[in-house]
Amino acid sequence: MEERPQLLARHTRDRWLGIALVIGVAAITVLPIAFVVVNSFNVAQPSQPWTFGLSGWSDAIFGSSRTLSSLTYSLILSVRAPLAVAIAFLISWLLIRAQIPGRSVIELALWTAFFLPALPITLGWVLLLDPNSGLINIFLKKLPWQLGPLNIQSVVGILWVHMSIATVPVMTMLLAPAFRIMDASMEEVSRTCGAKNWQTLRRITFPLILPASLTAVLAGLIRSLEAFEVEQLLGSRSGIYVYATRIYDLINYQPPQIPQAMALSTLILGVLCLLALLYQRIVSSRNYATVTGRGMSMRPLLTGRWRYAASAALFAYIGIGVVLPVTVLVLGSFMRLFGFFGISHPFTLDHWRRVLESPVFSLAVRNTLVLSLSTSILGLVFYSVLGYVLARSNLTGRKLIGLMTWLPWAIPGMLLGIGLLWLLLSMPVLGLLYGNIGALLLALFIKELPLGVNLSSVAFLQISQELEFSSRVCGASWFRTYRRIMLPLIAPTLVSLFAVTFIGAVRDISTTVLLVTPSSRTLSLLMFEFSAAGNIESAAILGLIVTVLAVGVALVVRRLGLSMSVS
């Protein structure tokens, strides 16, 4: 009888905590989006009072056939998300379960690939696969067989660039930790019962990795809608317009067609909310604990020649998809005119000298480090706490929080930027952030929230609660349990989380571009400014520097994470 008031008090406390969290998350996710939705109905000129009208909507939907065709292309190109998850699933299995030779090099290369900035890499591909002047195409023409030309400026080309440097690597980064910590005994049992490798894969491994895969697919689908630079560069010549380039076009019209852009975004917002709801249903319907107290290490599944064949295939994939464009990029940064080998003195150090000597550059290095480190540290703390709440607690409004965490990805980064800009300028306290790194920090924290929270919540879901209970039964406090049991188990995921947030912050252009001022400019934004001004050589140099910086930091973090985790 004595327990009841205590339970009741705890219940009330949970409720208030839940409500507070709902409000907190809503403030940073719903507000900027509400701004976009509300302003899709605004027909007034900028700086004039808000006037209701539907012309934004009708223009967006019926005004131009481009809208429909851009949505169709977006749909076609989003096929890369499920495709990449399938490939990443296979790669993770080969790396961790089959333990093919050279796996650490392959994994490292995939990490590196994900850090590569899209813009200069795409330029590298144009240099290689331009239908007329691409180096590979010129080579193909010389061969006796009638091959080519391979055209990078096509749907397949866009898919290839995305998948090789972004989608497949990031999906592998998300899935590999799930494989690594998964209880192998279930697979062992399956094999003991006489199942073949592929049967085990399909019936046991795949279902167990499902939540992590679903997060990856959903994240990939949403992100693919937002992808912009590659489509912009490769698509415009073959008339491939996607949702994000259409939005960009509308914003860059003279004068800008903001209501149309916002109406179009609101439309997509609806679709994405449905997707997020669907995801929640699937994930909450089953028990996904794959990490139990039982054995984790196991003997390699593939044997003999197959291991080497698989390894060779992955090395070839990395050679073509990562090493080749990077080499071209390095080469390009030393060229007087990027891609023109035929001029009298094609190579020069001038571009490097000019970039490295510029005071703008050293400021950008400092800004980038401060911004990315603070975003990822802040993110690590808050995302993992929110993820824990979603996975474990019974707080009021838990489901609502789960849904809201997806919202920041529901609109393109540039519109999120507009929403935040409005928020900063209209709220007295937040206004202090404008003009310094604080504004960018807030923007990136919001931008990386969806993946961060859901990635860590999936990691917690995977860990069987028995482990926590046994620790508590043995008398350990919650904090001690968290530190000694949970933290080591989810360390690989947390490391991925830190790295993904860090890279997201280092690479971001679209979300921060409207919030930046000359004193808070980052390396990526400087690269964007160079490339927008047509200075591709300097953009390539900054691309390389961003890559080296990000890969370096990520490697250190990765080392740290692997040494923290259980082996």
């Binding site: 481009r66 239908p131 415009s236 076009d249 860059n252």
Partner: protein
């Protein structure tokens, strides 16, 4: 409008194209030039300026015949326009930005401005139009900046980088090419005149998109 120059509607790579063969805009409709022309996208600054000029001088039918009928390669990227012209795959370029053209000409690419006998040349202000946001918090700071920007020193710095000739007669930058400097006696279409920019241009954009069937 602090600087002003003659908009580069048409430029060719003379290694591939004989500039003397293009005397009229109508020449561009010849079958031999199909797929050989690159232009900046009509929704972007310079690309829009060229499309507006062609619409005004030759009407929507011409615009359609040129942009659609000749399979124009369109890009939003100003550097890409010049790159394609220089590499020779699309040796004819519409809507070219001076600084990009000069970067390639400096390395020996034979790019030449072509002036057809028909049509009216446009003058443009490019990025050199200072605007002050209404009700902005620090109007005096803006005034100080604009004042510096319009000074001899400010204009020397700006024009040396952008290669857009200043309207200050005391600012002379030798690297600015002759073909973009307006001539005293020629009558130009001023696309940066306020009424044209604010009222006429947006209306024409709709007509252009209609003509191109978008």
């Amino acid at each position: 409008m602090v600087s002003e120059w003659v908009h580069i509607d048409l430029m060719v790579n003379t290694r591939v194209i004989d500039p003397k063969k293009i005397t009229s805009w109508k020449d561009l409709l010849k079958p031999e030039y199909k797929g050989k022309i690159v232009a900046q996208e009509v929704t972007v600054g310079a690309g829009g300026a060229t499309a507006r000029a062609l619409l005004e001088d030759f009407g929507p039918e011409y615009l359609k015949a040129l942009y659609k009928g000749q399979d124009l390669v369109l890009t939003r990227d100003a550097r890409e326009v010049v790159r394609l012209m220089a590499q020779g795959s699309q040796p004819i370029a519409l809507a070219v930005i001076p600084a990009h053209a000069e970067a390639f000409r400096k390395e020996g690419f034979p790019l030449e401005r072509v002036f057809p006998t028909d049509g009216v040349l446009s003058v443009s202000g490019g990025s050199a139009v200072p605007k002050i946001v209404a009700n902005a918090p620090h109007p005096n700071a803006a005034a100080v900046f604009v004042n510096w920007f319009m000074s001899k020193r400010g204009q020397e710095i700006y024009t040396a980088i952008s290669l857009e000739p200043s309207r200050r007669t005391d600012v002379v930058v030798p690297t600015i090419p002759q073909y973009i400097i307006p001539k005293a006696k020629t009558k130009y279409r001023n696309q940066y005149e306020e009424d044209y920019y604010v009222n006429i241009a947006p209306k024409m954009r709709k007509q252009i998109e209609q003509a191109l069937g978008r």
